[in-house]
């Protein structure tokens, strides 16, 4: 690598990637009984692929529970991957022998989220920082100590701190020590799992600046995992957006933040608070519950919450109404909407609007009252603009109020079916090194769709 100017580290992406992750999966079995029979699996990470180049900062963002941290521990093989491969400098880590793995450990280090629990309270910080040296065979105690002292100074602490214990340091200081420990083996890759989330905002900036300085000094590749989009935007060269164990979009940070292609990325980015008052209130609000990774939705995993979900053939919805109809469908499928709940809703709404004196009416709620109550609960209009769609919806609501939720669900599923729930989208290249996994882009709607990236199809 040649010396870089002072601008944000523009990684050399022409050469070979340092880390190449292909179809990485980590499933946790859900077991039952003494025999530990597998009754299901949590798909924490479900087939992710990306490359990290030397000297580059690669971000992974997503909501909590989307599998970011599992991705980190699995790619470092701190947990055995269920499937897929991780190539580090050309060698397959997931199939490495014990000795090879140990050599890999020397070159790939991790920084943890919680600076308090990441240090052994019974070891002085000097011992903690020098421990990897000892593990990898440095027997010279005095030299280990000198290296620890030198490193503590380089991360902005004092050499005299080697003999102090973790509880004597603040969170920010401990994170500096964590950096020292990650650096001590002179690695090529550092995986930082939410390294600044536990810190005060003012300290966050210091630690990020230190990380950037060290990264440039030692030419490190960094995988930076965070739920904090502002931080990611500041430090990452490229970023991958994860949703329910999958990467939905990956691209150069600045361009991706400026023009997000995937509806989920758009929703996520619109949640960043902005200081410009004219920009406020434009946030995209996601409806529907976050699905469980033990039972991910069919097709595109985001379709249960996607505001831009593809409309069914032959109908013309207002997009917001279409989204709400889908929310209703989802609840019907899960059996959460039925005759009883509709009547309860109607009763509650009528008491709320008409006051307690009219409460008696609630006992004998007429069916159209109940239908209207469901519409109100899902923010649906009195009538949809598309007459044929409206007819289907009214019929379904009628079935619900008559107590036949199953048929209502079947009717909606038959009439209002979207490619998003039927087919898994493929990664579509937006530009060089930028791709998103959405039916809006992958050619199933647009015939001029571009070739999917290799290795992404399932």
């Amino acid at each position: 690598m040649t010396g870089r100017p002072d601008e944000p580290p523009a990684a050399d992406r022409s050469g070979e990637p340092l880390l190449r992750v292909r179809g990485l999966k980590k499933h946790y079995p859900i077991t039952e009984g003494v025999l530990r029979r597998e009754v299901g699996r949590v798909r924490a990470v479900d087939g992710i692929s990306f490359d990290v180049y030397p000297g580059e900062t690669f971000g992974i963002v997503g909501e909590s529970g989307c599998g970011k941290s599992t991705a980190a521990t699995t790619l470092l093989r701190l947990e055995e991957p269920t499937d897929g491969e991780v190539l580090f400098d050309g060698a397959d880590v997931s199939a490495a022998s014990k000795a090879e793995l140990k050599r890999f450990r020397r070159r790939a280090q991790m920084i943890f989220q919680d600076p308090t629990s990441s240090f052994d309270p019974r070891m002085s910080v000097g011992e903690s920082v020098a421990e990897p040296l000892r593990i990898h065979g440095m027997r010279d105690r005095d030299r280990r100590r000198r290296i620890a002292q030198d490193l503590l100074e380089r991360v902005g602490l004092s050499a005299d701190d080697v003999d102090r214990y973790p509880h004597e340091f603040s969170g920010g200081q401990k994170q500096r020590i964590g950096l020292a420990r990650a650096l001590v083996l002179n690695p090529d890759l550092i995986v930082a799992d939410e390294p600044v989330s536990a810190l005060d905002v003012s300290i966050q900036a210091e630690i990020l600046a230190l990380m950037r300085r060290l990264q440039e000094e030692f030419d490190l590749a960094v995988v930076f995992i965070s739920h904090n989009l502002s931080v990611v935007r500041e430090v990452c060269d490229r970023v991958a957006v994860m949703y329910l164990g999958e990467i939905v979009e990956v691209g150069p940070t600045e361009r991706l933040f400026a023009d997000p292609q995937h509806p989920y990325t758009r929703a996520l980015l619109s949640s960043i608070p902005t200081p410009d008052p004219r920009e406020r209130g434009r946030g995209i609000e996601l409806t529907g519950d976050v699905p469980s990774p033990s039972d991910p939705p069919s097709g595109c995993r985001f379709h249960t919450r996607c505001p831009e979900i593809v409309q069914p053939d032959g109908y013309e919805f207002e997009q917001v109404h279409w989204r709400r109809v889908m929310d209703l469908r989802a609840k019907l499928d899960r059996g959460e909407v039925g005759r009883e709940s509709a009547l309860d809703l109607a009763a509650a709404q009528s008491t709320a609007t008409a006051g307690a004196t009219d409460g008696a009416r609630a006992t004998g709620t007429p069916p159209d009252e109940a239908r209207a109550a469901i519409r109100r609960a899902f923010d649906l209009p009195e009538a949809l603009t598309d007459e044929r769609a409206e007819a289907v919806l009214s019929e379904a609501l009628g079935l619900v109020v008559d107590g036949d939720s199953d048929r209502a669900a079947a009717l909606l599923a038959k009439e209002f079916s979207t490619p998003c729930e039927r087919r898994r989208p493929r990664a579509a290249a937006v530009d060089d090194g930028w791709s998103a996994t959405c039916h809006l882009l992958d050619g199933s709607r647009r015939s001029e769709g571009v070739e999917p990236l290799p290795g992404r199809e399932d």
């Binding site: 052994d120 440095m138 027997r139």
Partner: protein
Amino acid sequence: MATDAKPSDDASFERVDWDALESEFGGLSRRQTAFLGAMAAFALGVAADVAVGGPLPLLGDPAPLDWLFRLTLLLGTFYVVLPLYDDPRMTRHYWRQFKRNTAAVISLGYLAVVFAVGTVGPTFLPRPELDLLARRQPPVFTSVAADVPTTCAGEVVNGMCHGTWQYPLGTNAQGHDMLHLLVFGMEVSMQVGLIATAIIVVVGTAVGTSAALFGGLVDEVSMRFVDLLLTVPTFFLFILIVYLYGGSLFLMILVFGLLSWGGVARLVRSEALQRSEEEYIRAAENAGASKAWILRRHVIPNVSNTVITAATLTIPFLILAEAGLSFLGLGDPTTFSWGQTIADGRGELAGAWWISTVPGVFLFFTVLAFNFLGDALRDALDPRSEV
């Protein structure tokens, strides 16, 4: 080191030549060397004892129990005393916490005396011998009716026999000096308390931490075994052993040690499970540490508080159990246990009250002191107070 860098450079991590250093094994720290040396000397001593079968030069003729006691003291030195000595900062911190409890400091002093006298005393004192002329001498400063002792060693004034400094704590019905009996009883109590506790701590910690760290089948099998172990009635098993082999202190200690570690193993397992969730374990894994390394360097030191507290509270239980069994006549007839002395004096309470009372008082204070010590250690070693 294989680096040819200047001395000032070898302090920077970028200059480490990793190909020259590959493994965590292949050398030993000073303490490990010393420990292995001591263990080798110990093994050699045992082997020599077995081979010769008679008295050895320097070592005399130690019984199996003496060997076990030496092993216990060796372990205590390397795993309690040396770490405290090596880390004066930590030691001072614990001492500050500990000395807030005055009763515990006094207890520690008392137990230190009991330990020292009980360990060293019996080698210098003659074994108590039957002495019919010296039966039932009263302790110094007290007096009993002149017809209680066979012949009064002190003055007889007004038909009362006064105690003398010849027998400061008096003698029992066999004419044994109570002071000597007391010292020999200390040895028995220390041996029972420390050896059995050492067995419990070593086995319990090993099983508990492995169960937590390896999980799965190891965890399942070892914990079910602990369940099984806890249902074994130690008392009846011991009676059976006495019936088969006769009363023996060595067997008693083995039975107690090998059957009572279940509770400690459970405690250690739950503590170790909590610890192994901590990120520092993951950090060590990520640095390439083996399971054995993590167990030794991170898990065991961090469960040691729990273990030390549990052990300190086990000791008085074991001492009381031994005294109780000896009192019932199930003890070792060749030793001078406090329980046995108390039982001997039971029939003499009316005339020679001191025979049961003196060892009884010491037994009481020893058990009390260990309990105080355990409570204070639990408070001092509680990690929550370290922050």
